[in-house]
Symmetry: C2
Amino acid sequence: MYLERIGSPADVRALDASDLPVLCQEIRRAIVEKSAAEGGHVGSNLGVVELTVALHRVFESPRDQIVFDVSHQTYAHKMLTGRAAAFTDPAHYADASGFANPRESEHDLFAMGHTSTSVSLACGLALARDRAGENHDVVAVIGDGSLSGGLAFEGFDNLAELGTGVLVIINDNGWSIAENHGGIYANLAELRATGGAAEHNFFRSLGLDYRFVADGNDLAGMIAELEGLRGLTHPVVLHVCTAKGSGYDLALADPERWHHPAAFDAKTGEPRRAPAPGAPLATYAEITGAWLSAQMETDSLLVGVNAATPYIMGFNPARRAAAGSQFVDVGIAEQHAVTFTAALARGGAHPVLGIYGVFLQRAYDQLWHDLCLNALPATILTFGCSVFGTRDATHLGLFDITLLSGLPGLAYLAPVCREEYEAMLAWAVGHTGGPVAIRVPGQGVVSRPELAPAAGEGFAIPRYQTVRRGSDVAILALGSFFELGERAADALEAAGVHATLVNPRFALGVDMEALDEIAASHRVVLTLEDGILEGGWGEQVARHLGPRDVRVRCFGVRTGYPDRFDVDELLASNGLTPEAIAGAALDMLADQGL
Amino acid sequence: MYLERIGSPADVRALDASDLPVLCQEIRRAIVEKSAAEGGHVGSNLGVVELTVALHRVFESPRDQIVFDVSHQTYAHKMLTGRAAAFTDPAHYADASGFANPRESEHDLFAMGHTSTSVSLACGLALARDRAGENHDVVAVIGDGSLSGGLAFEGFDNLAELGTGVLVIINDNGWSIAENHGGIYANLAELRATGGAAEHNFFRSLGLDYRFVADGNDLAGMIAELEGLRGLTHPVVLHVCTAKGSGYDLALADPERWHHPAAFDAKTGEPRRAPAPGAPLATYAEITGAWLSAQMETDSLLVGVNAATPYIMGFNPARRAAAGSQFVDVGIAEQHAVTFTAALARGGAHPVLGIYGVFLQRAYDQLWHDLCLNALPATILTFGCSVFGTRDATHLGLFDITLLSGLPGLAYLAPVCREEYEAMLAWAVGHTGGPVAIRVPGQGVVSRPELAPAAGEGFAIPRYQTVRRGSDVAILALGSFFELGERAADALEAAGVHATLVNPRFALGVDMEALDEIAASHRVVLTLEDGILEGGWGEQVARHLGPRDVRVRCFGVRTGYPDRFDVDELLASNGLTPEAIAGAALDMLADQGL
């Protein structure tokens, strides 16, 4: 096995050229086998095997600097830079993360996982190189949907002006996570169809030199092309056509499903774990998609908006087809998604934007300047905002509340259960008083009929829901941490303290009336939130109670970038266990002589 | 005077065509005279006079929807939509803000002032129109530097796919605030030089229909062109060349100076208020520019970065010329500015990004994902973050702390005076432990040698500076509110309470050791910050002191969008006066029986 002998890119360069196709086969097999075992980014990584081998055959990383965007297509790169065992040996699977990671290797220049960053990064590396009087190559590999993000455009725009030696490789596999959207992809398709000779050329229009490679899965051709592009002294865009899923027929046939499948049988492609029978609405994505689809039939002004991840809101290909122009996937373009949503509301439509919390980060100014400043009635559903969500440092869903905490006039609701979520969603879509965001619960679907809002209840102004009434200690447990609060209350009960338990329901702002009442009748208040403490919801409670004669302690996750963490360990290290929470409350009571 | 008879665009349509040139002259005179009296956006507004008259002559606002981007070029639009007196009658100057504002008129669809939003807004308006079965026109006017922002690209990209009737007018005056930067502007220049027939065309490359108008200051031609573009059923880009400053020779000759001059003599162009003699370093911009320029001479790796506002960091044309490739203005492209800065640091350069706080909002994910996740040693200087900064709702400098509050590993320093600022700047540029941001004081330059950090003092870890040591009450007064804290302490002294006064110096994170000591020796802690309370710095202090036996009250500005506010009124309404602060402390002491 050649892969076993590859300790660094130098070993790739030392191989006989005739051995390289076998190396590619080995890499491809490892991608499929590891992904079959634990899920992974299958299609895009299969597509760039030859491109990656060619890159390490021609350039001399880390002296030459290669930036992969999006970095989920770095499996082959990792295998060729000392991390082959993390893909070939199940005992070492955990050694490599799914994204570029400088802690793993000097060949990974940046921890990165969001898209559209590489051209800007290459600009910075190149200018730093020039200022230092060095002369190595700087290469950005961008693709798999990344081009639609405005940051990529900003990077190309500035690169043209900097005018220095940078090679930008467009890995054009014709797909994002789902199908591609937008004018730039139509231009890529034209260029593909014409062998790079189409009349209109986005890259040339920005003043960039442009080359075309028709078959990026042809290793020898790829190597030859790159050989001619060493030592550049001006920017060149190399448009490389690859096949997403190349070498694995199942993935070639259905790129959306094979973008990032969960564990599967490598031969049949069947998922390892079949969905439980009789549970068609077992996820909040499904609940959301079903509700919105049904609603669209009676409300022709309802418009679903999404940025390249339609599945998070349950819009599978069938629902997208049924929705027609009532569902718009804008591609990876979160800023546009928010501003477009704001204008839909201004124009009288009823927009509902579904987005991962971690990607809503890419549109803060659009929330601030286009949506909230104009107090427009749009609904935003944030997904994955939880310690129970994604566990890669690049994709943490823990920063949404701190991000949104200062936004004027935004109602940010945090339902605990399905009943609350459905009531809040229905209310938000009909609400005309301003923007509403809903923090879709981060764990599996929970049914708690006793928490269901009263019929016709609105959510324009923070109103807490007291679930248990006790004394001395009040636990305010937000959204997906409500159950944790419940268990902490149970632990206090066992210690003889009958605690009050509150479902705050609002992740921004406070219910002053409820807090006044709580401060007057309790000695200790605890806040629990499934997110970062700094700038979060608990701090707002702490500020409001600061002048009152009551002790407050905020529980949440200390800010940082935990990577591939164990949830229970992360919770325990932040004191987020029923026992630790109850213990803290008892200590605070004892400190007051109670 | 025709302007006096224009109550709405219908009156523009009712005028005889031969009267329109005089109307344009009147508008132009009003732009110059009002700007001469109180400062304003001169050049861009002079450039779009004919375009705006033509728009309201041809389209029927508000039925037809026109979105101006950037909205600082709406003076003529305002004069033609019922707000002429706000430009012709000094007694009514305050009736119109400098930006689009729906509270002023139904012809202003959005409150907006940041750039690059209009194409996305037009997409949303157009789809809402289509869903409602209506058929009015939707027009976006984009220009004056807005094209380089990635959001504009995202909008064009999606517009091409939506394929519906939208007219996007590119107001190409060849300038941003300073000169334009980037490949797209090179393409516009090519198109200008070739009458729109250049081989490469950015808009066509995205699949958009394209038309060219060589002289957008030719009213009759402009009207004729727009007449042919009513009732569009597909997207069209109309590239209109205008002269920034048209009709006013002084502004034509120096577009950067005349982008937004302060009050001036309309005849000579001289500023009304001459800079005080002998005060060459009277602004933090000058201090910054002088320090960085000097430093560049000995540190060839130092690189200044800016996004289209070089003057905020003192980089006037002379300093930019001297810096060469050590100063990069990336154009209006804040996302790229931050990611580029991160990569410069990764490549070993010493980047310093100067940026308005309100525009740093446009790059949160780049701070989170590119800079902080990678713990890269870059320096960011935030300007205008203060109630004493810009007073338009669109440009509030109050949200920076709440924006940054959760960012892991970011040191955010808040100097009070020149001595602290210079020490922190010098330390930040040499610091290799991670990113450092400095909140440049928002008021005039203050010299306080007694607050100067000790020689060699670092700022990696929050360390408070106790300026007065008292008892009972501790006032923690951040950055530009330090003086307010000092005066509150004086007011308490007069009431017989000898308060402790602390210069916290860090706008993120807390000095736990200092807070513990303060909690143990005081009954009341007050935090004062020149920014929004929600998600801000005071709340972090309140959380840390929450479990302790001490009362905390946070002073700052309640979140919202105050517009063209009176600073003293805003401060008073938020209890931000020495008397109110001292009174609150006394009340909290009395409440504890002290």
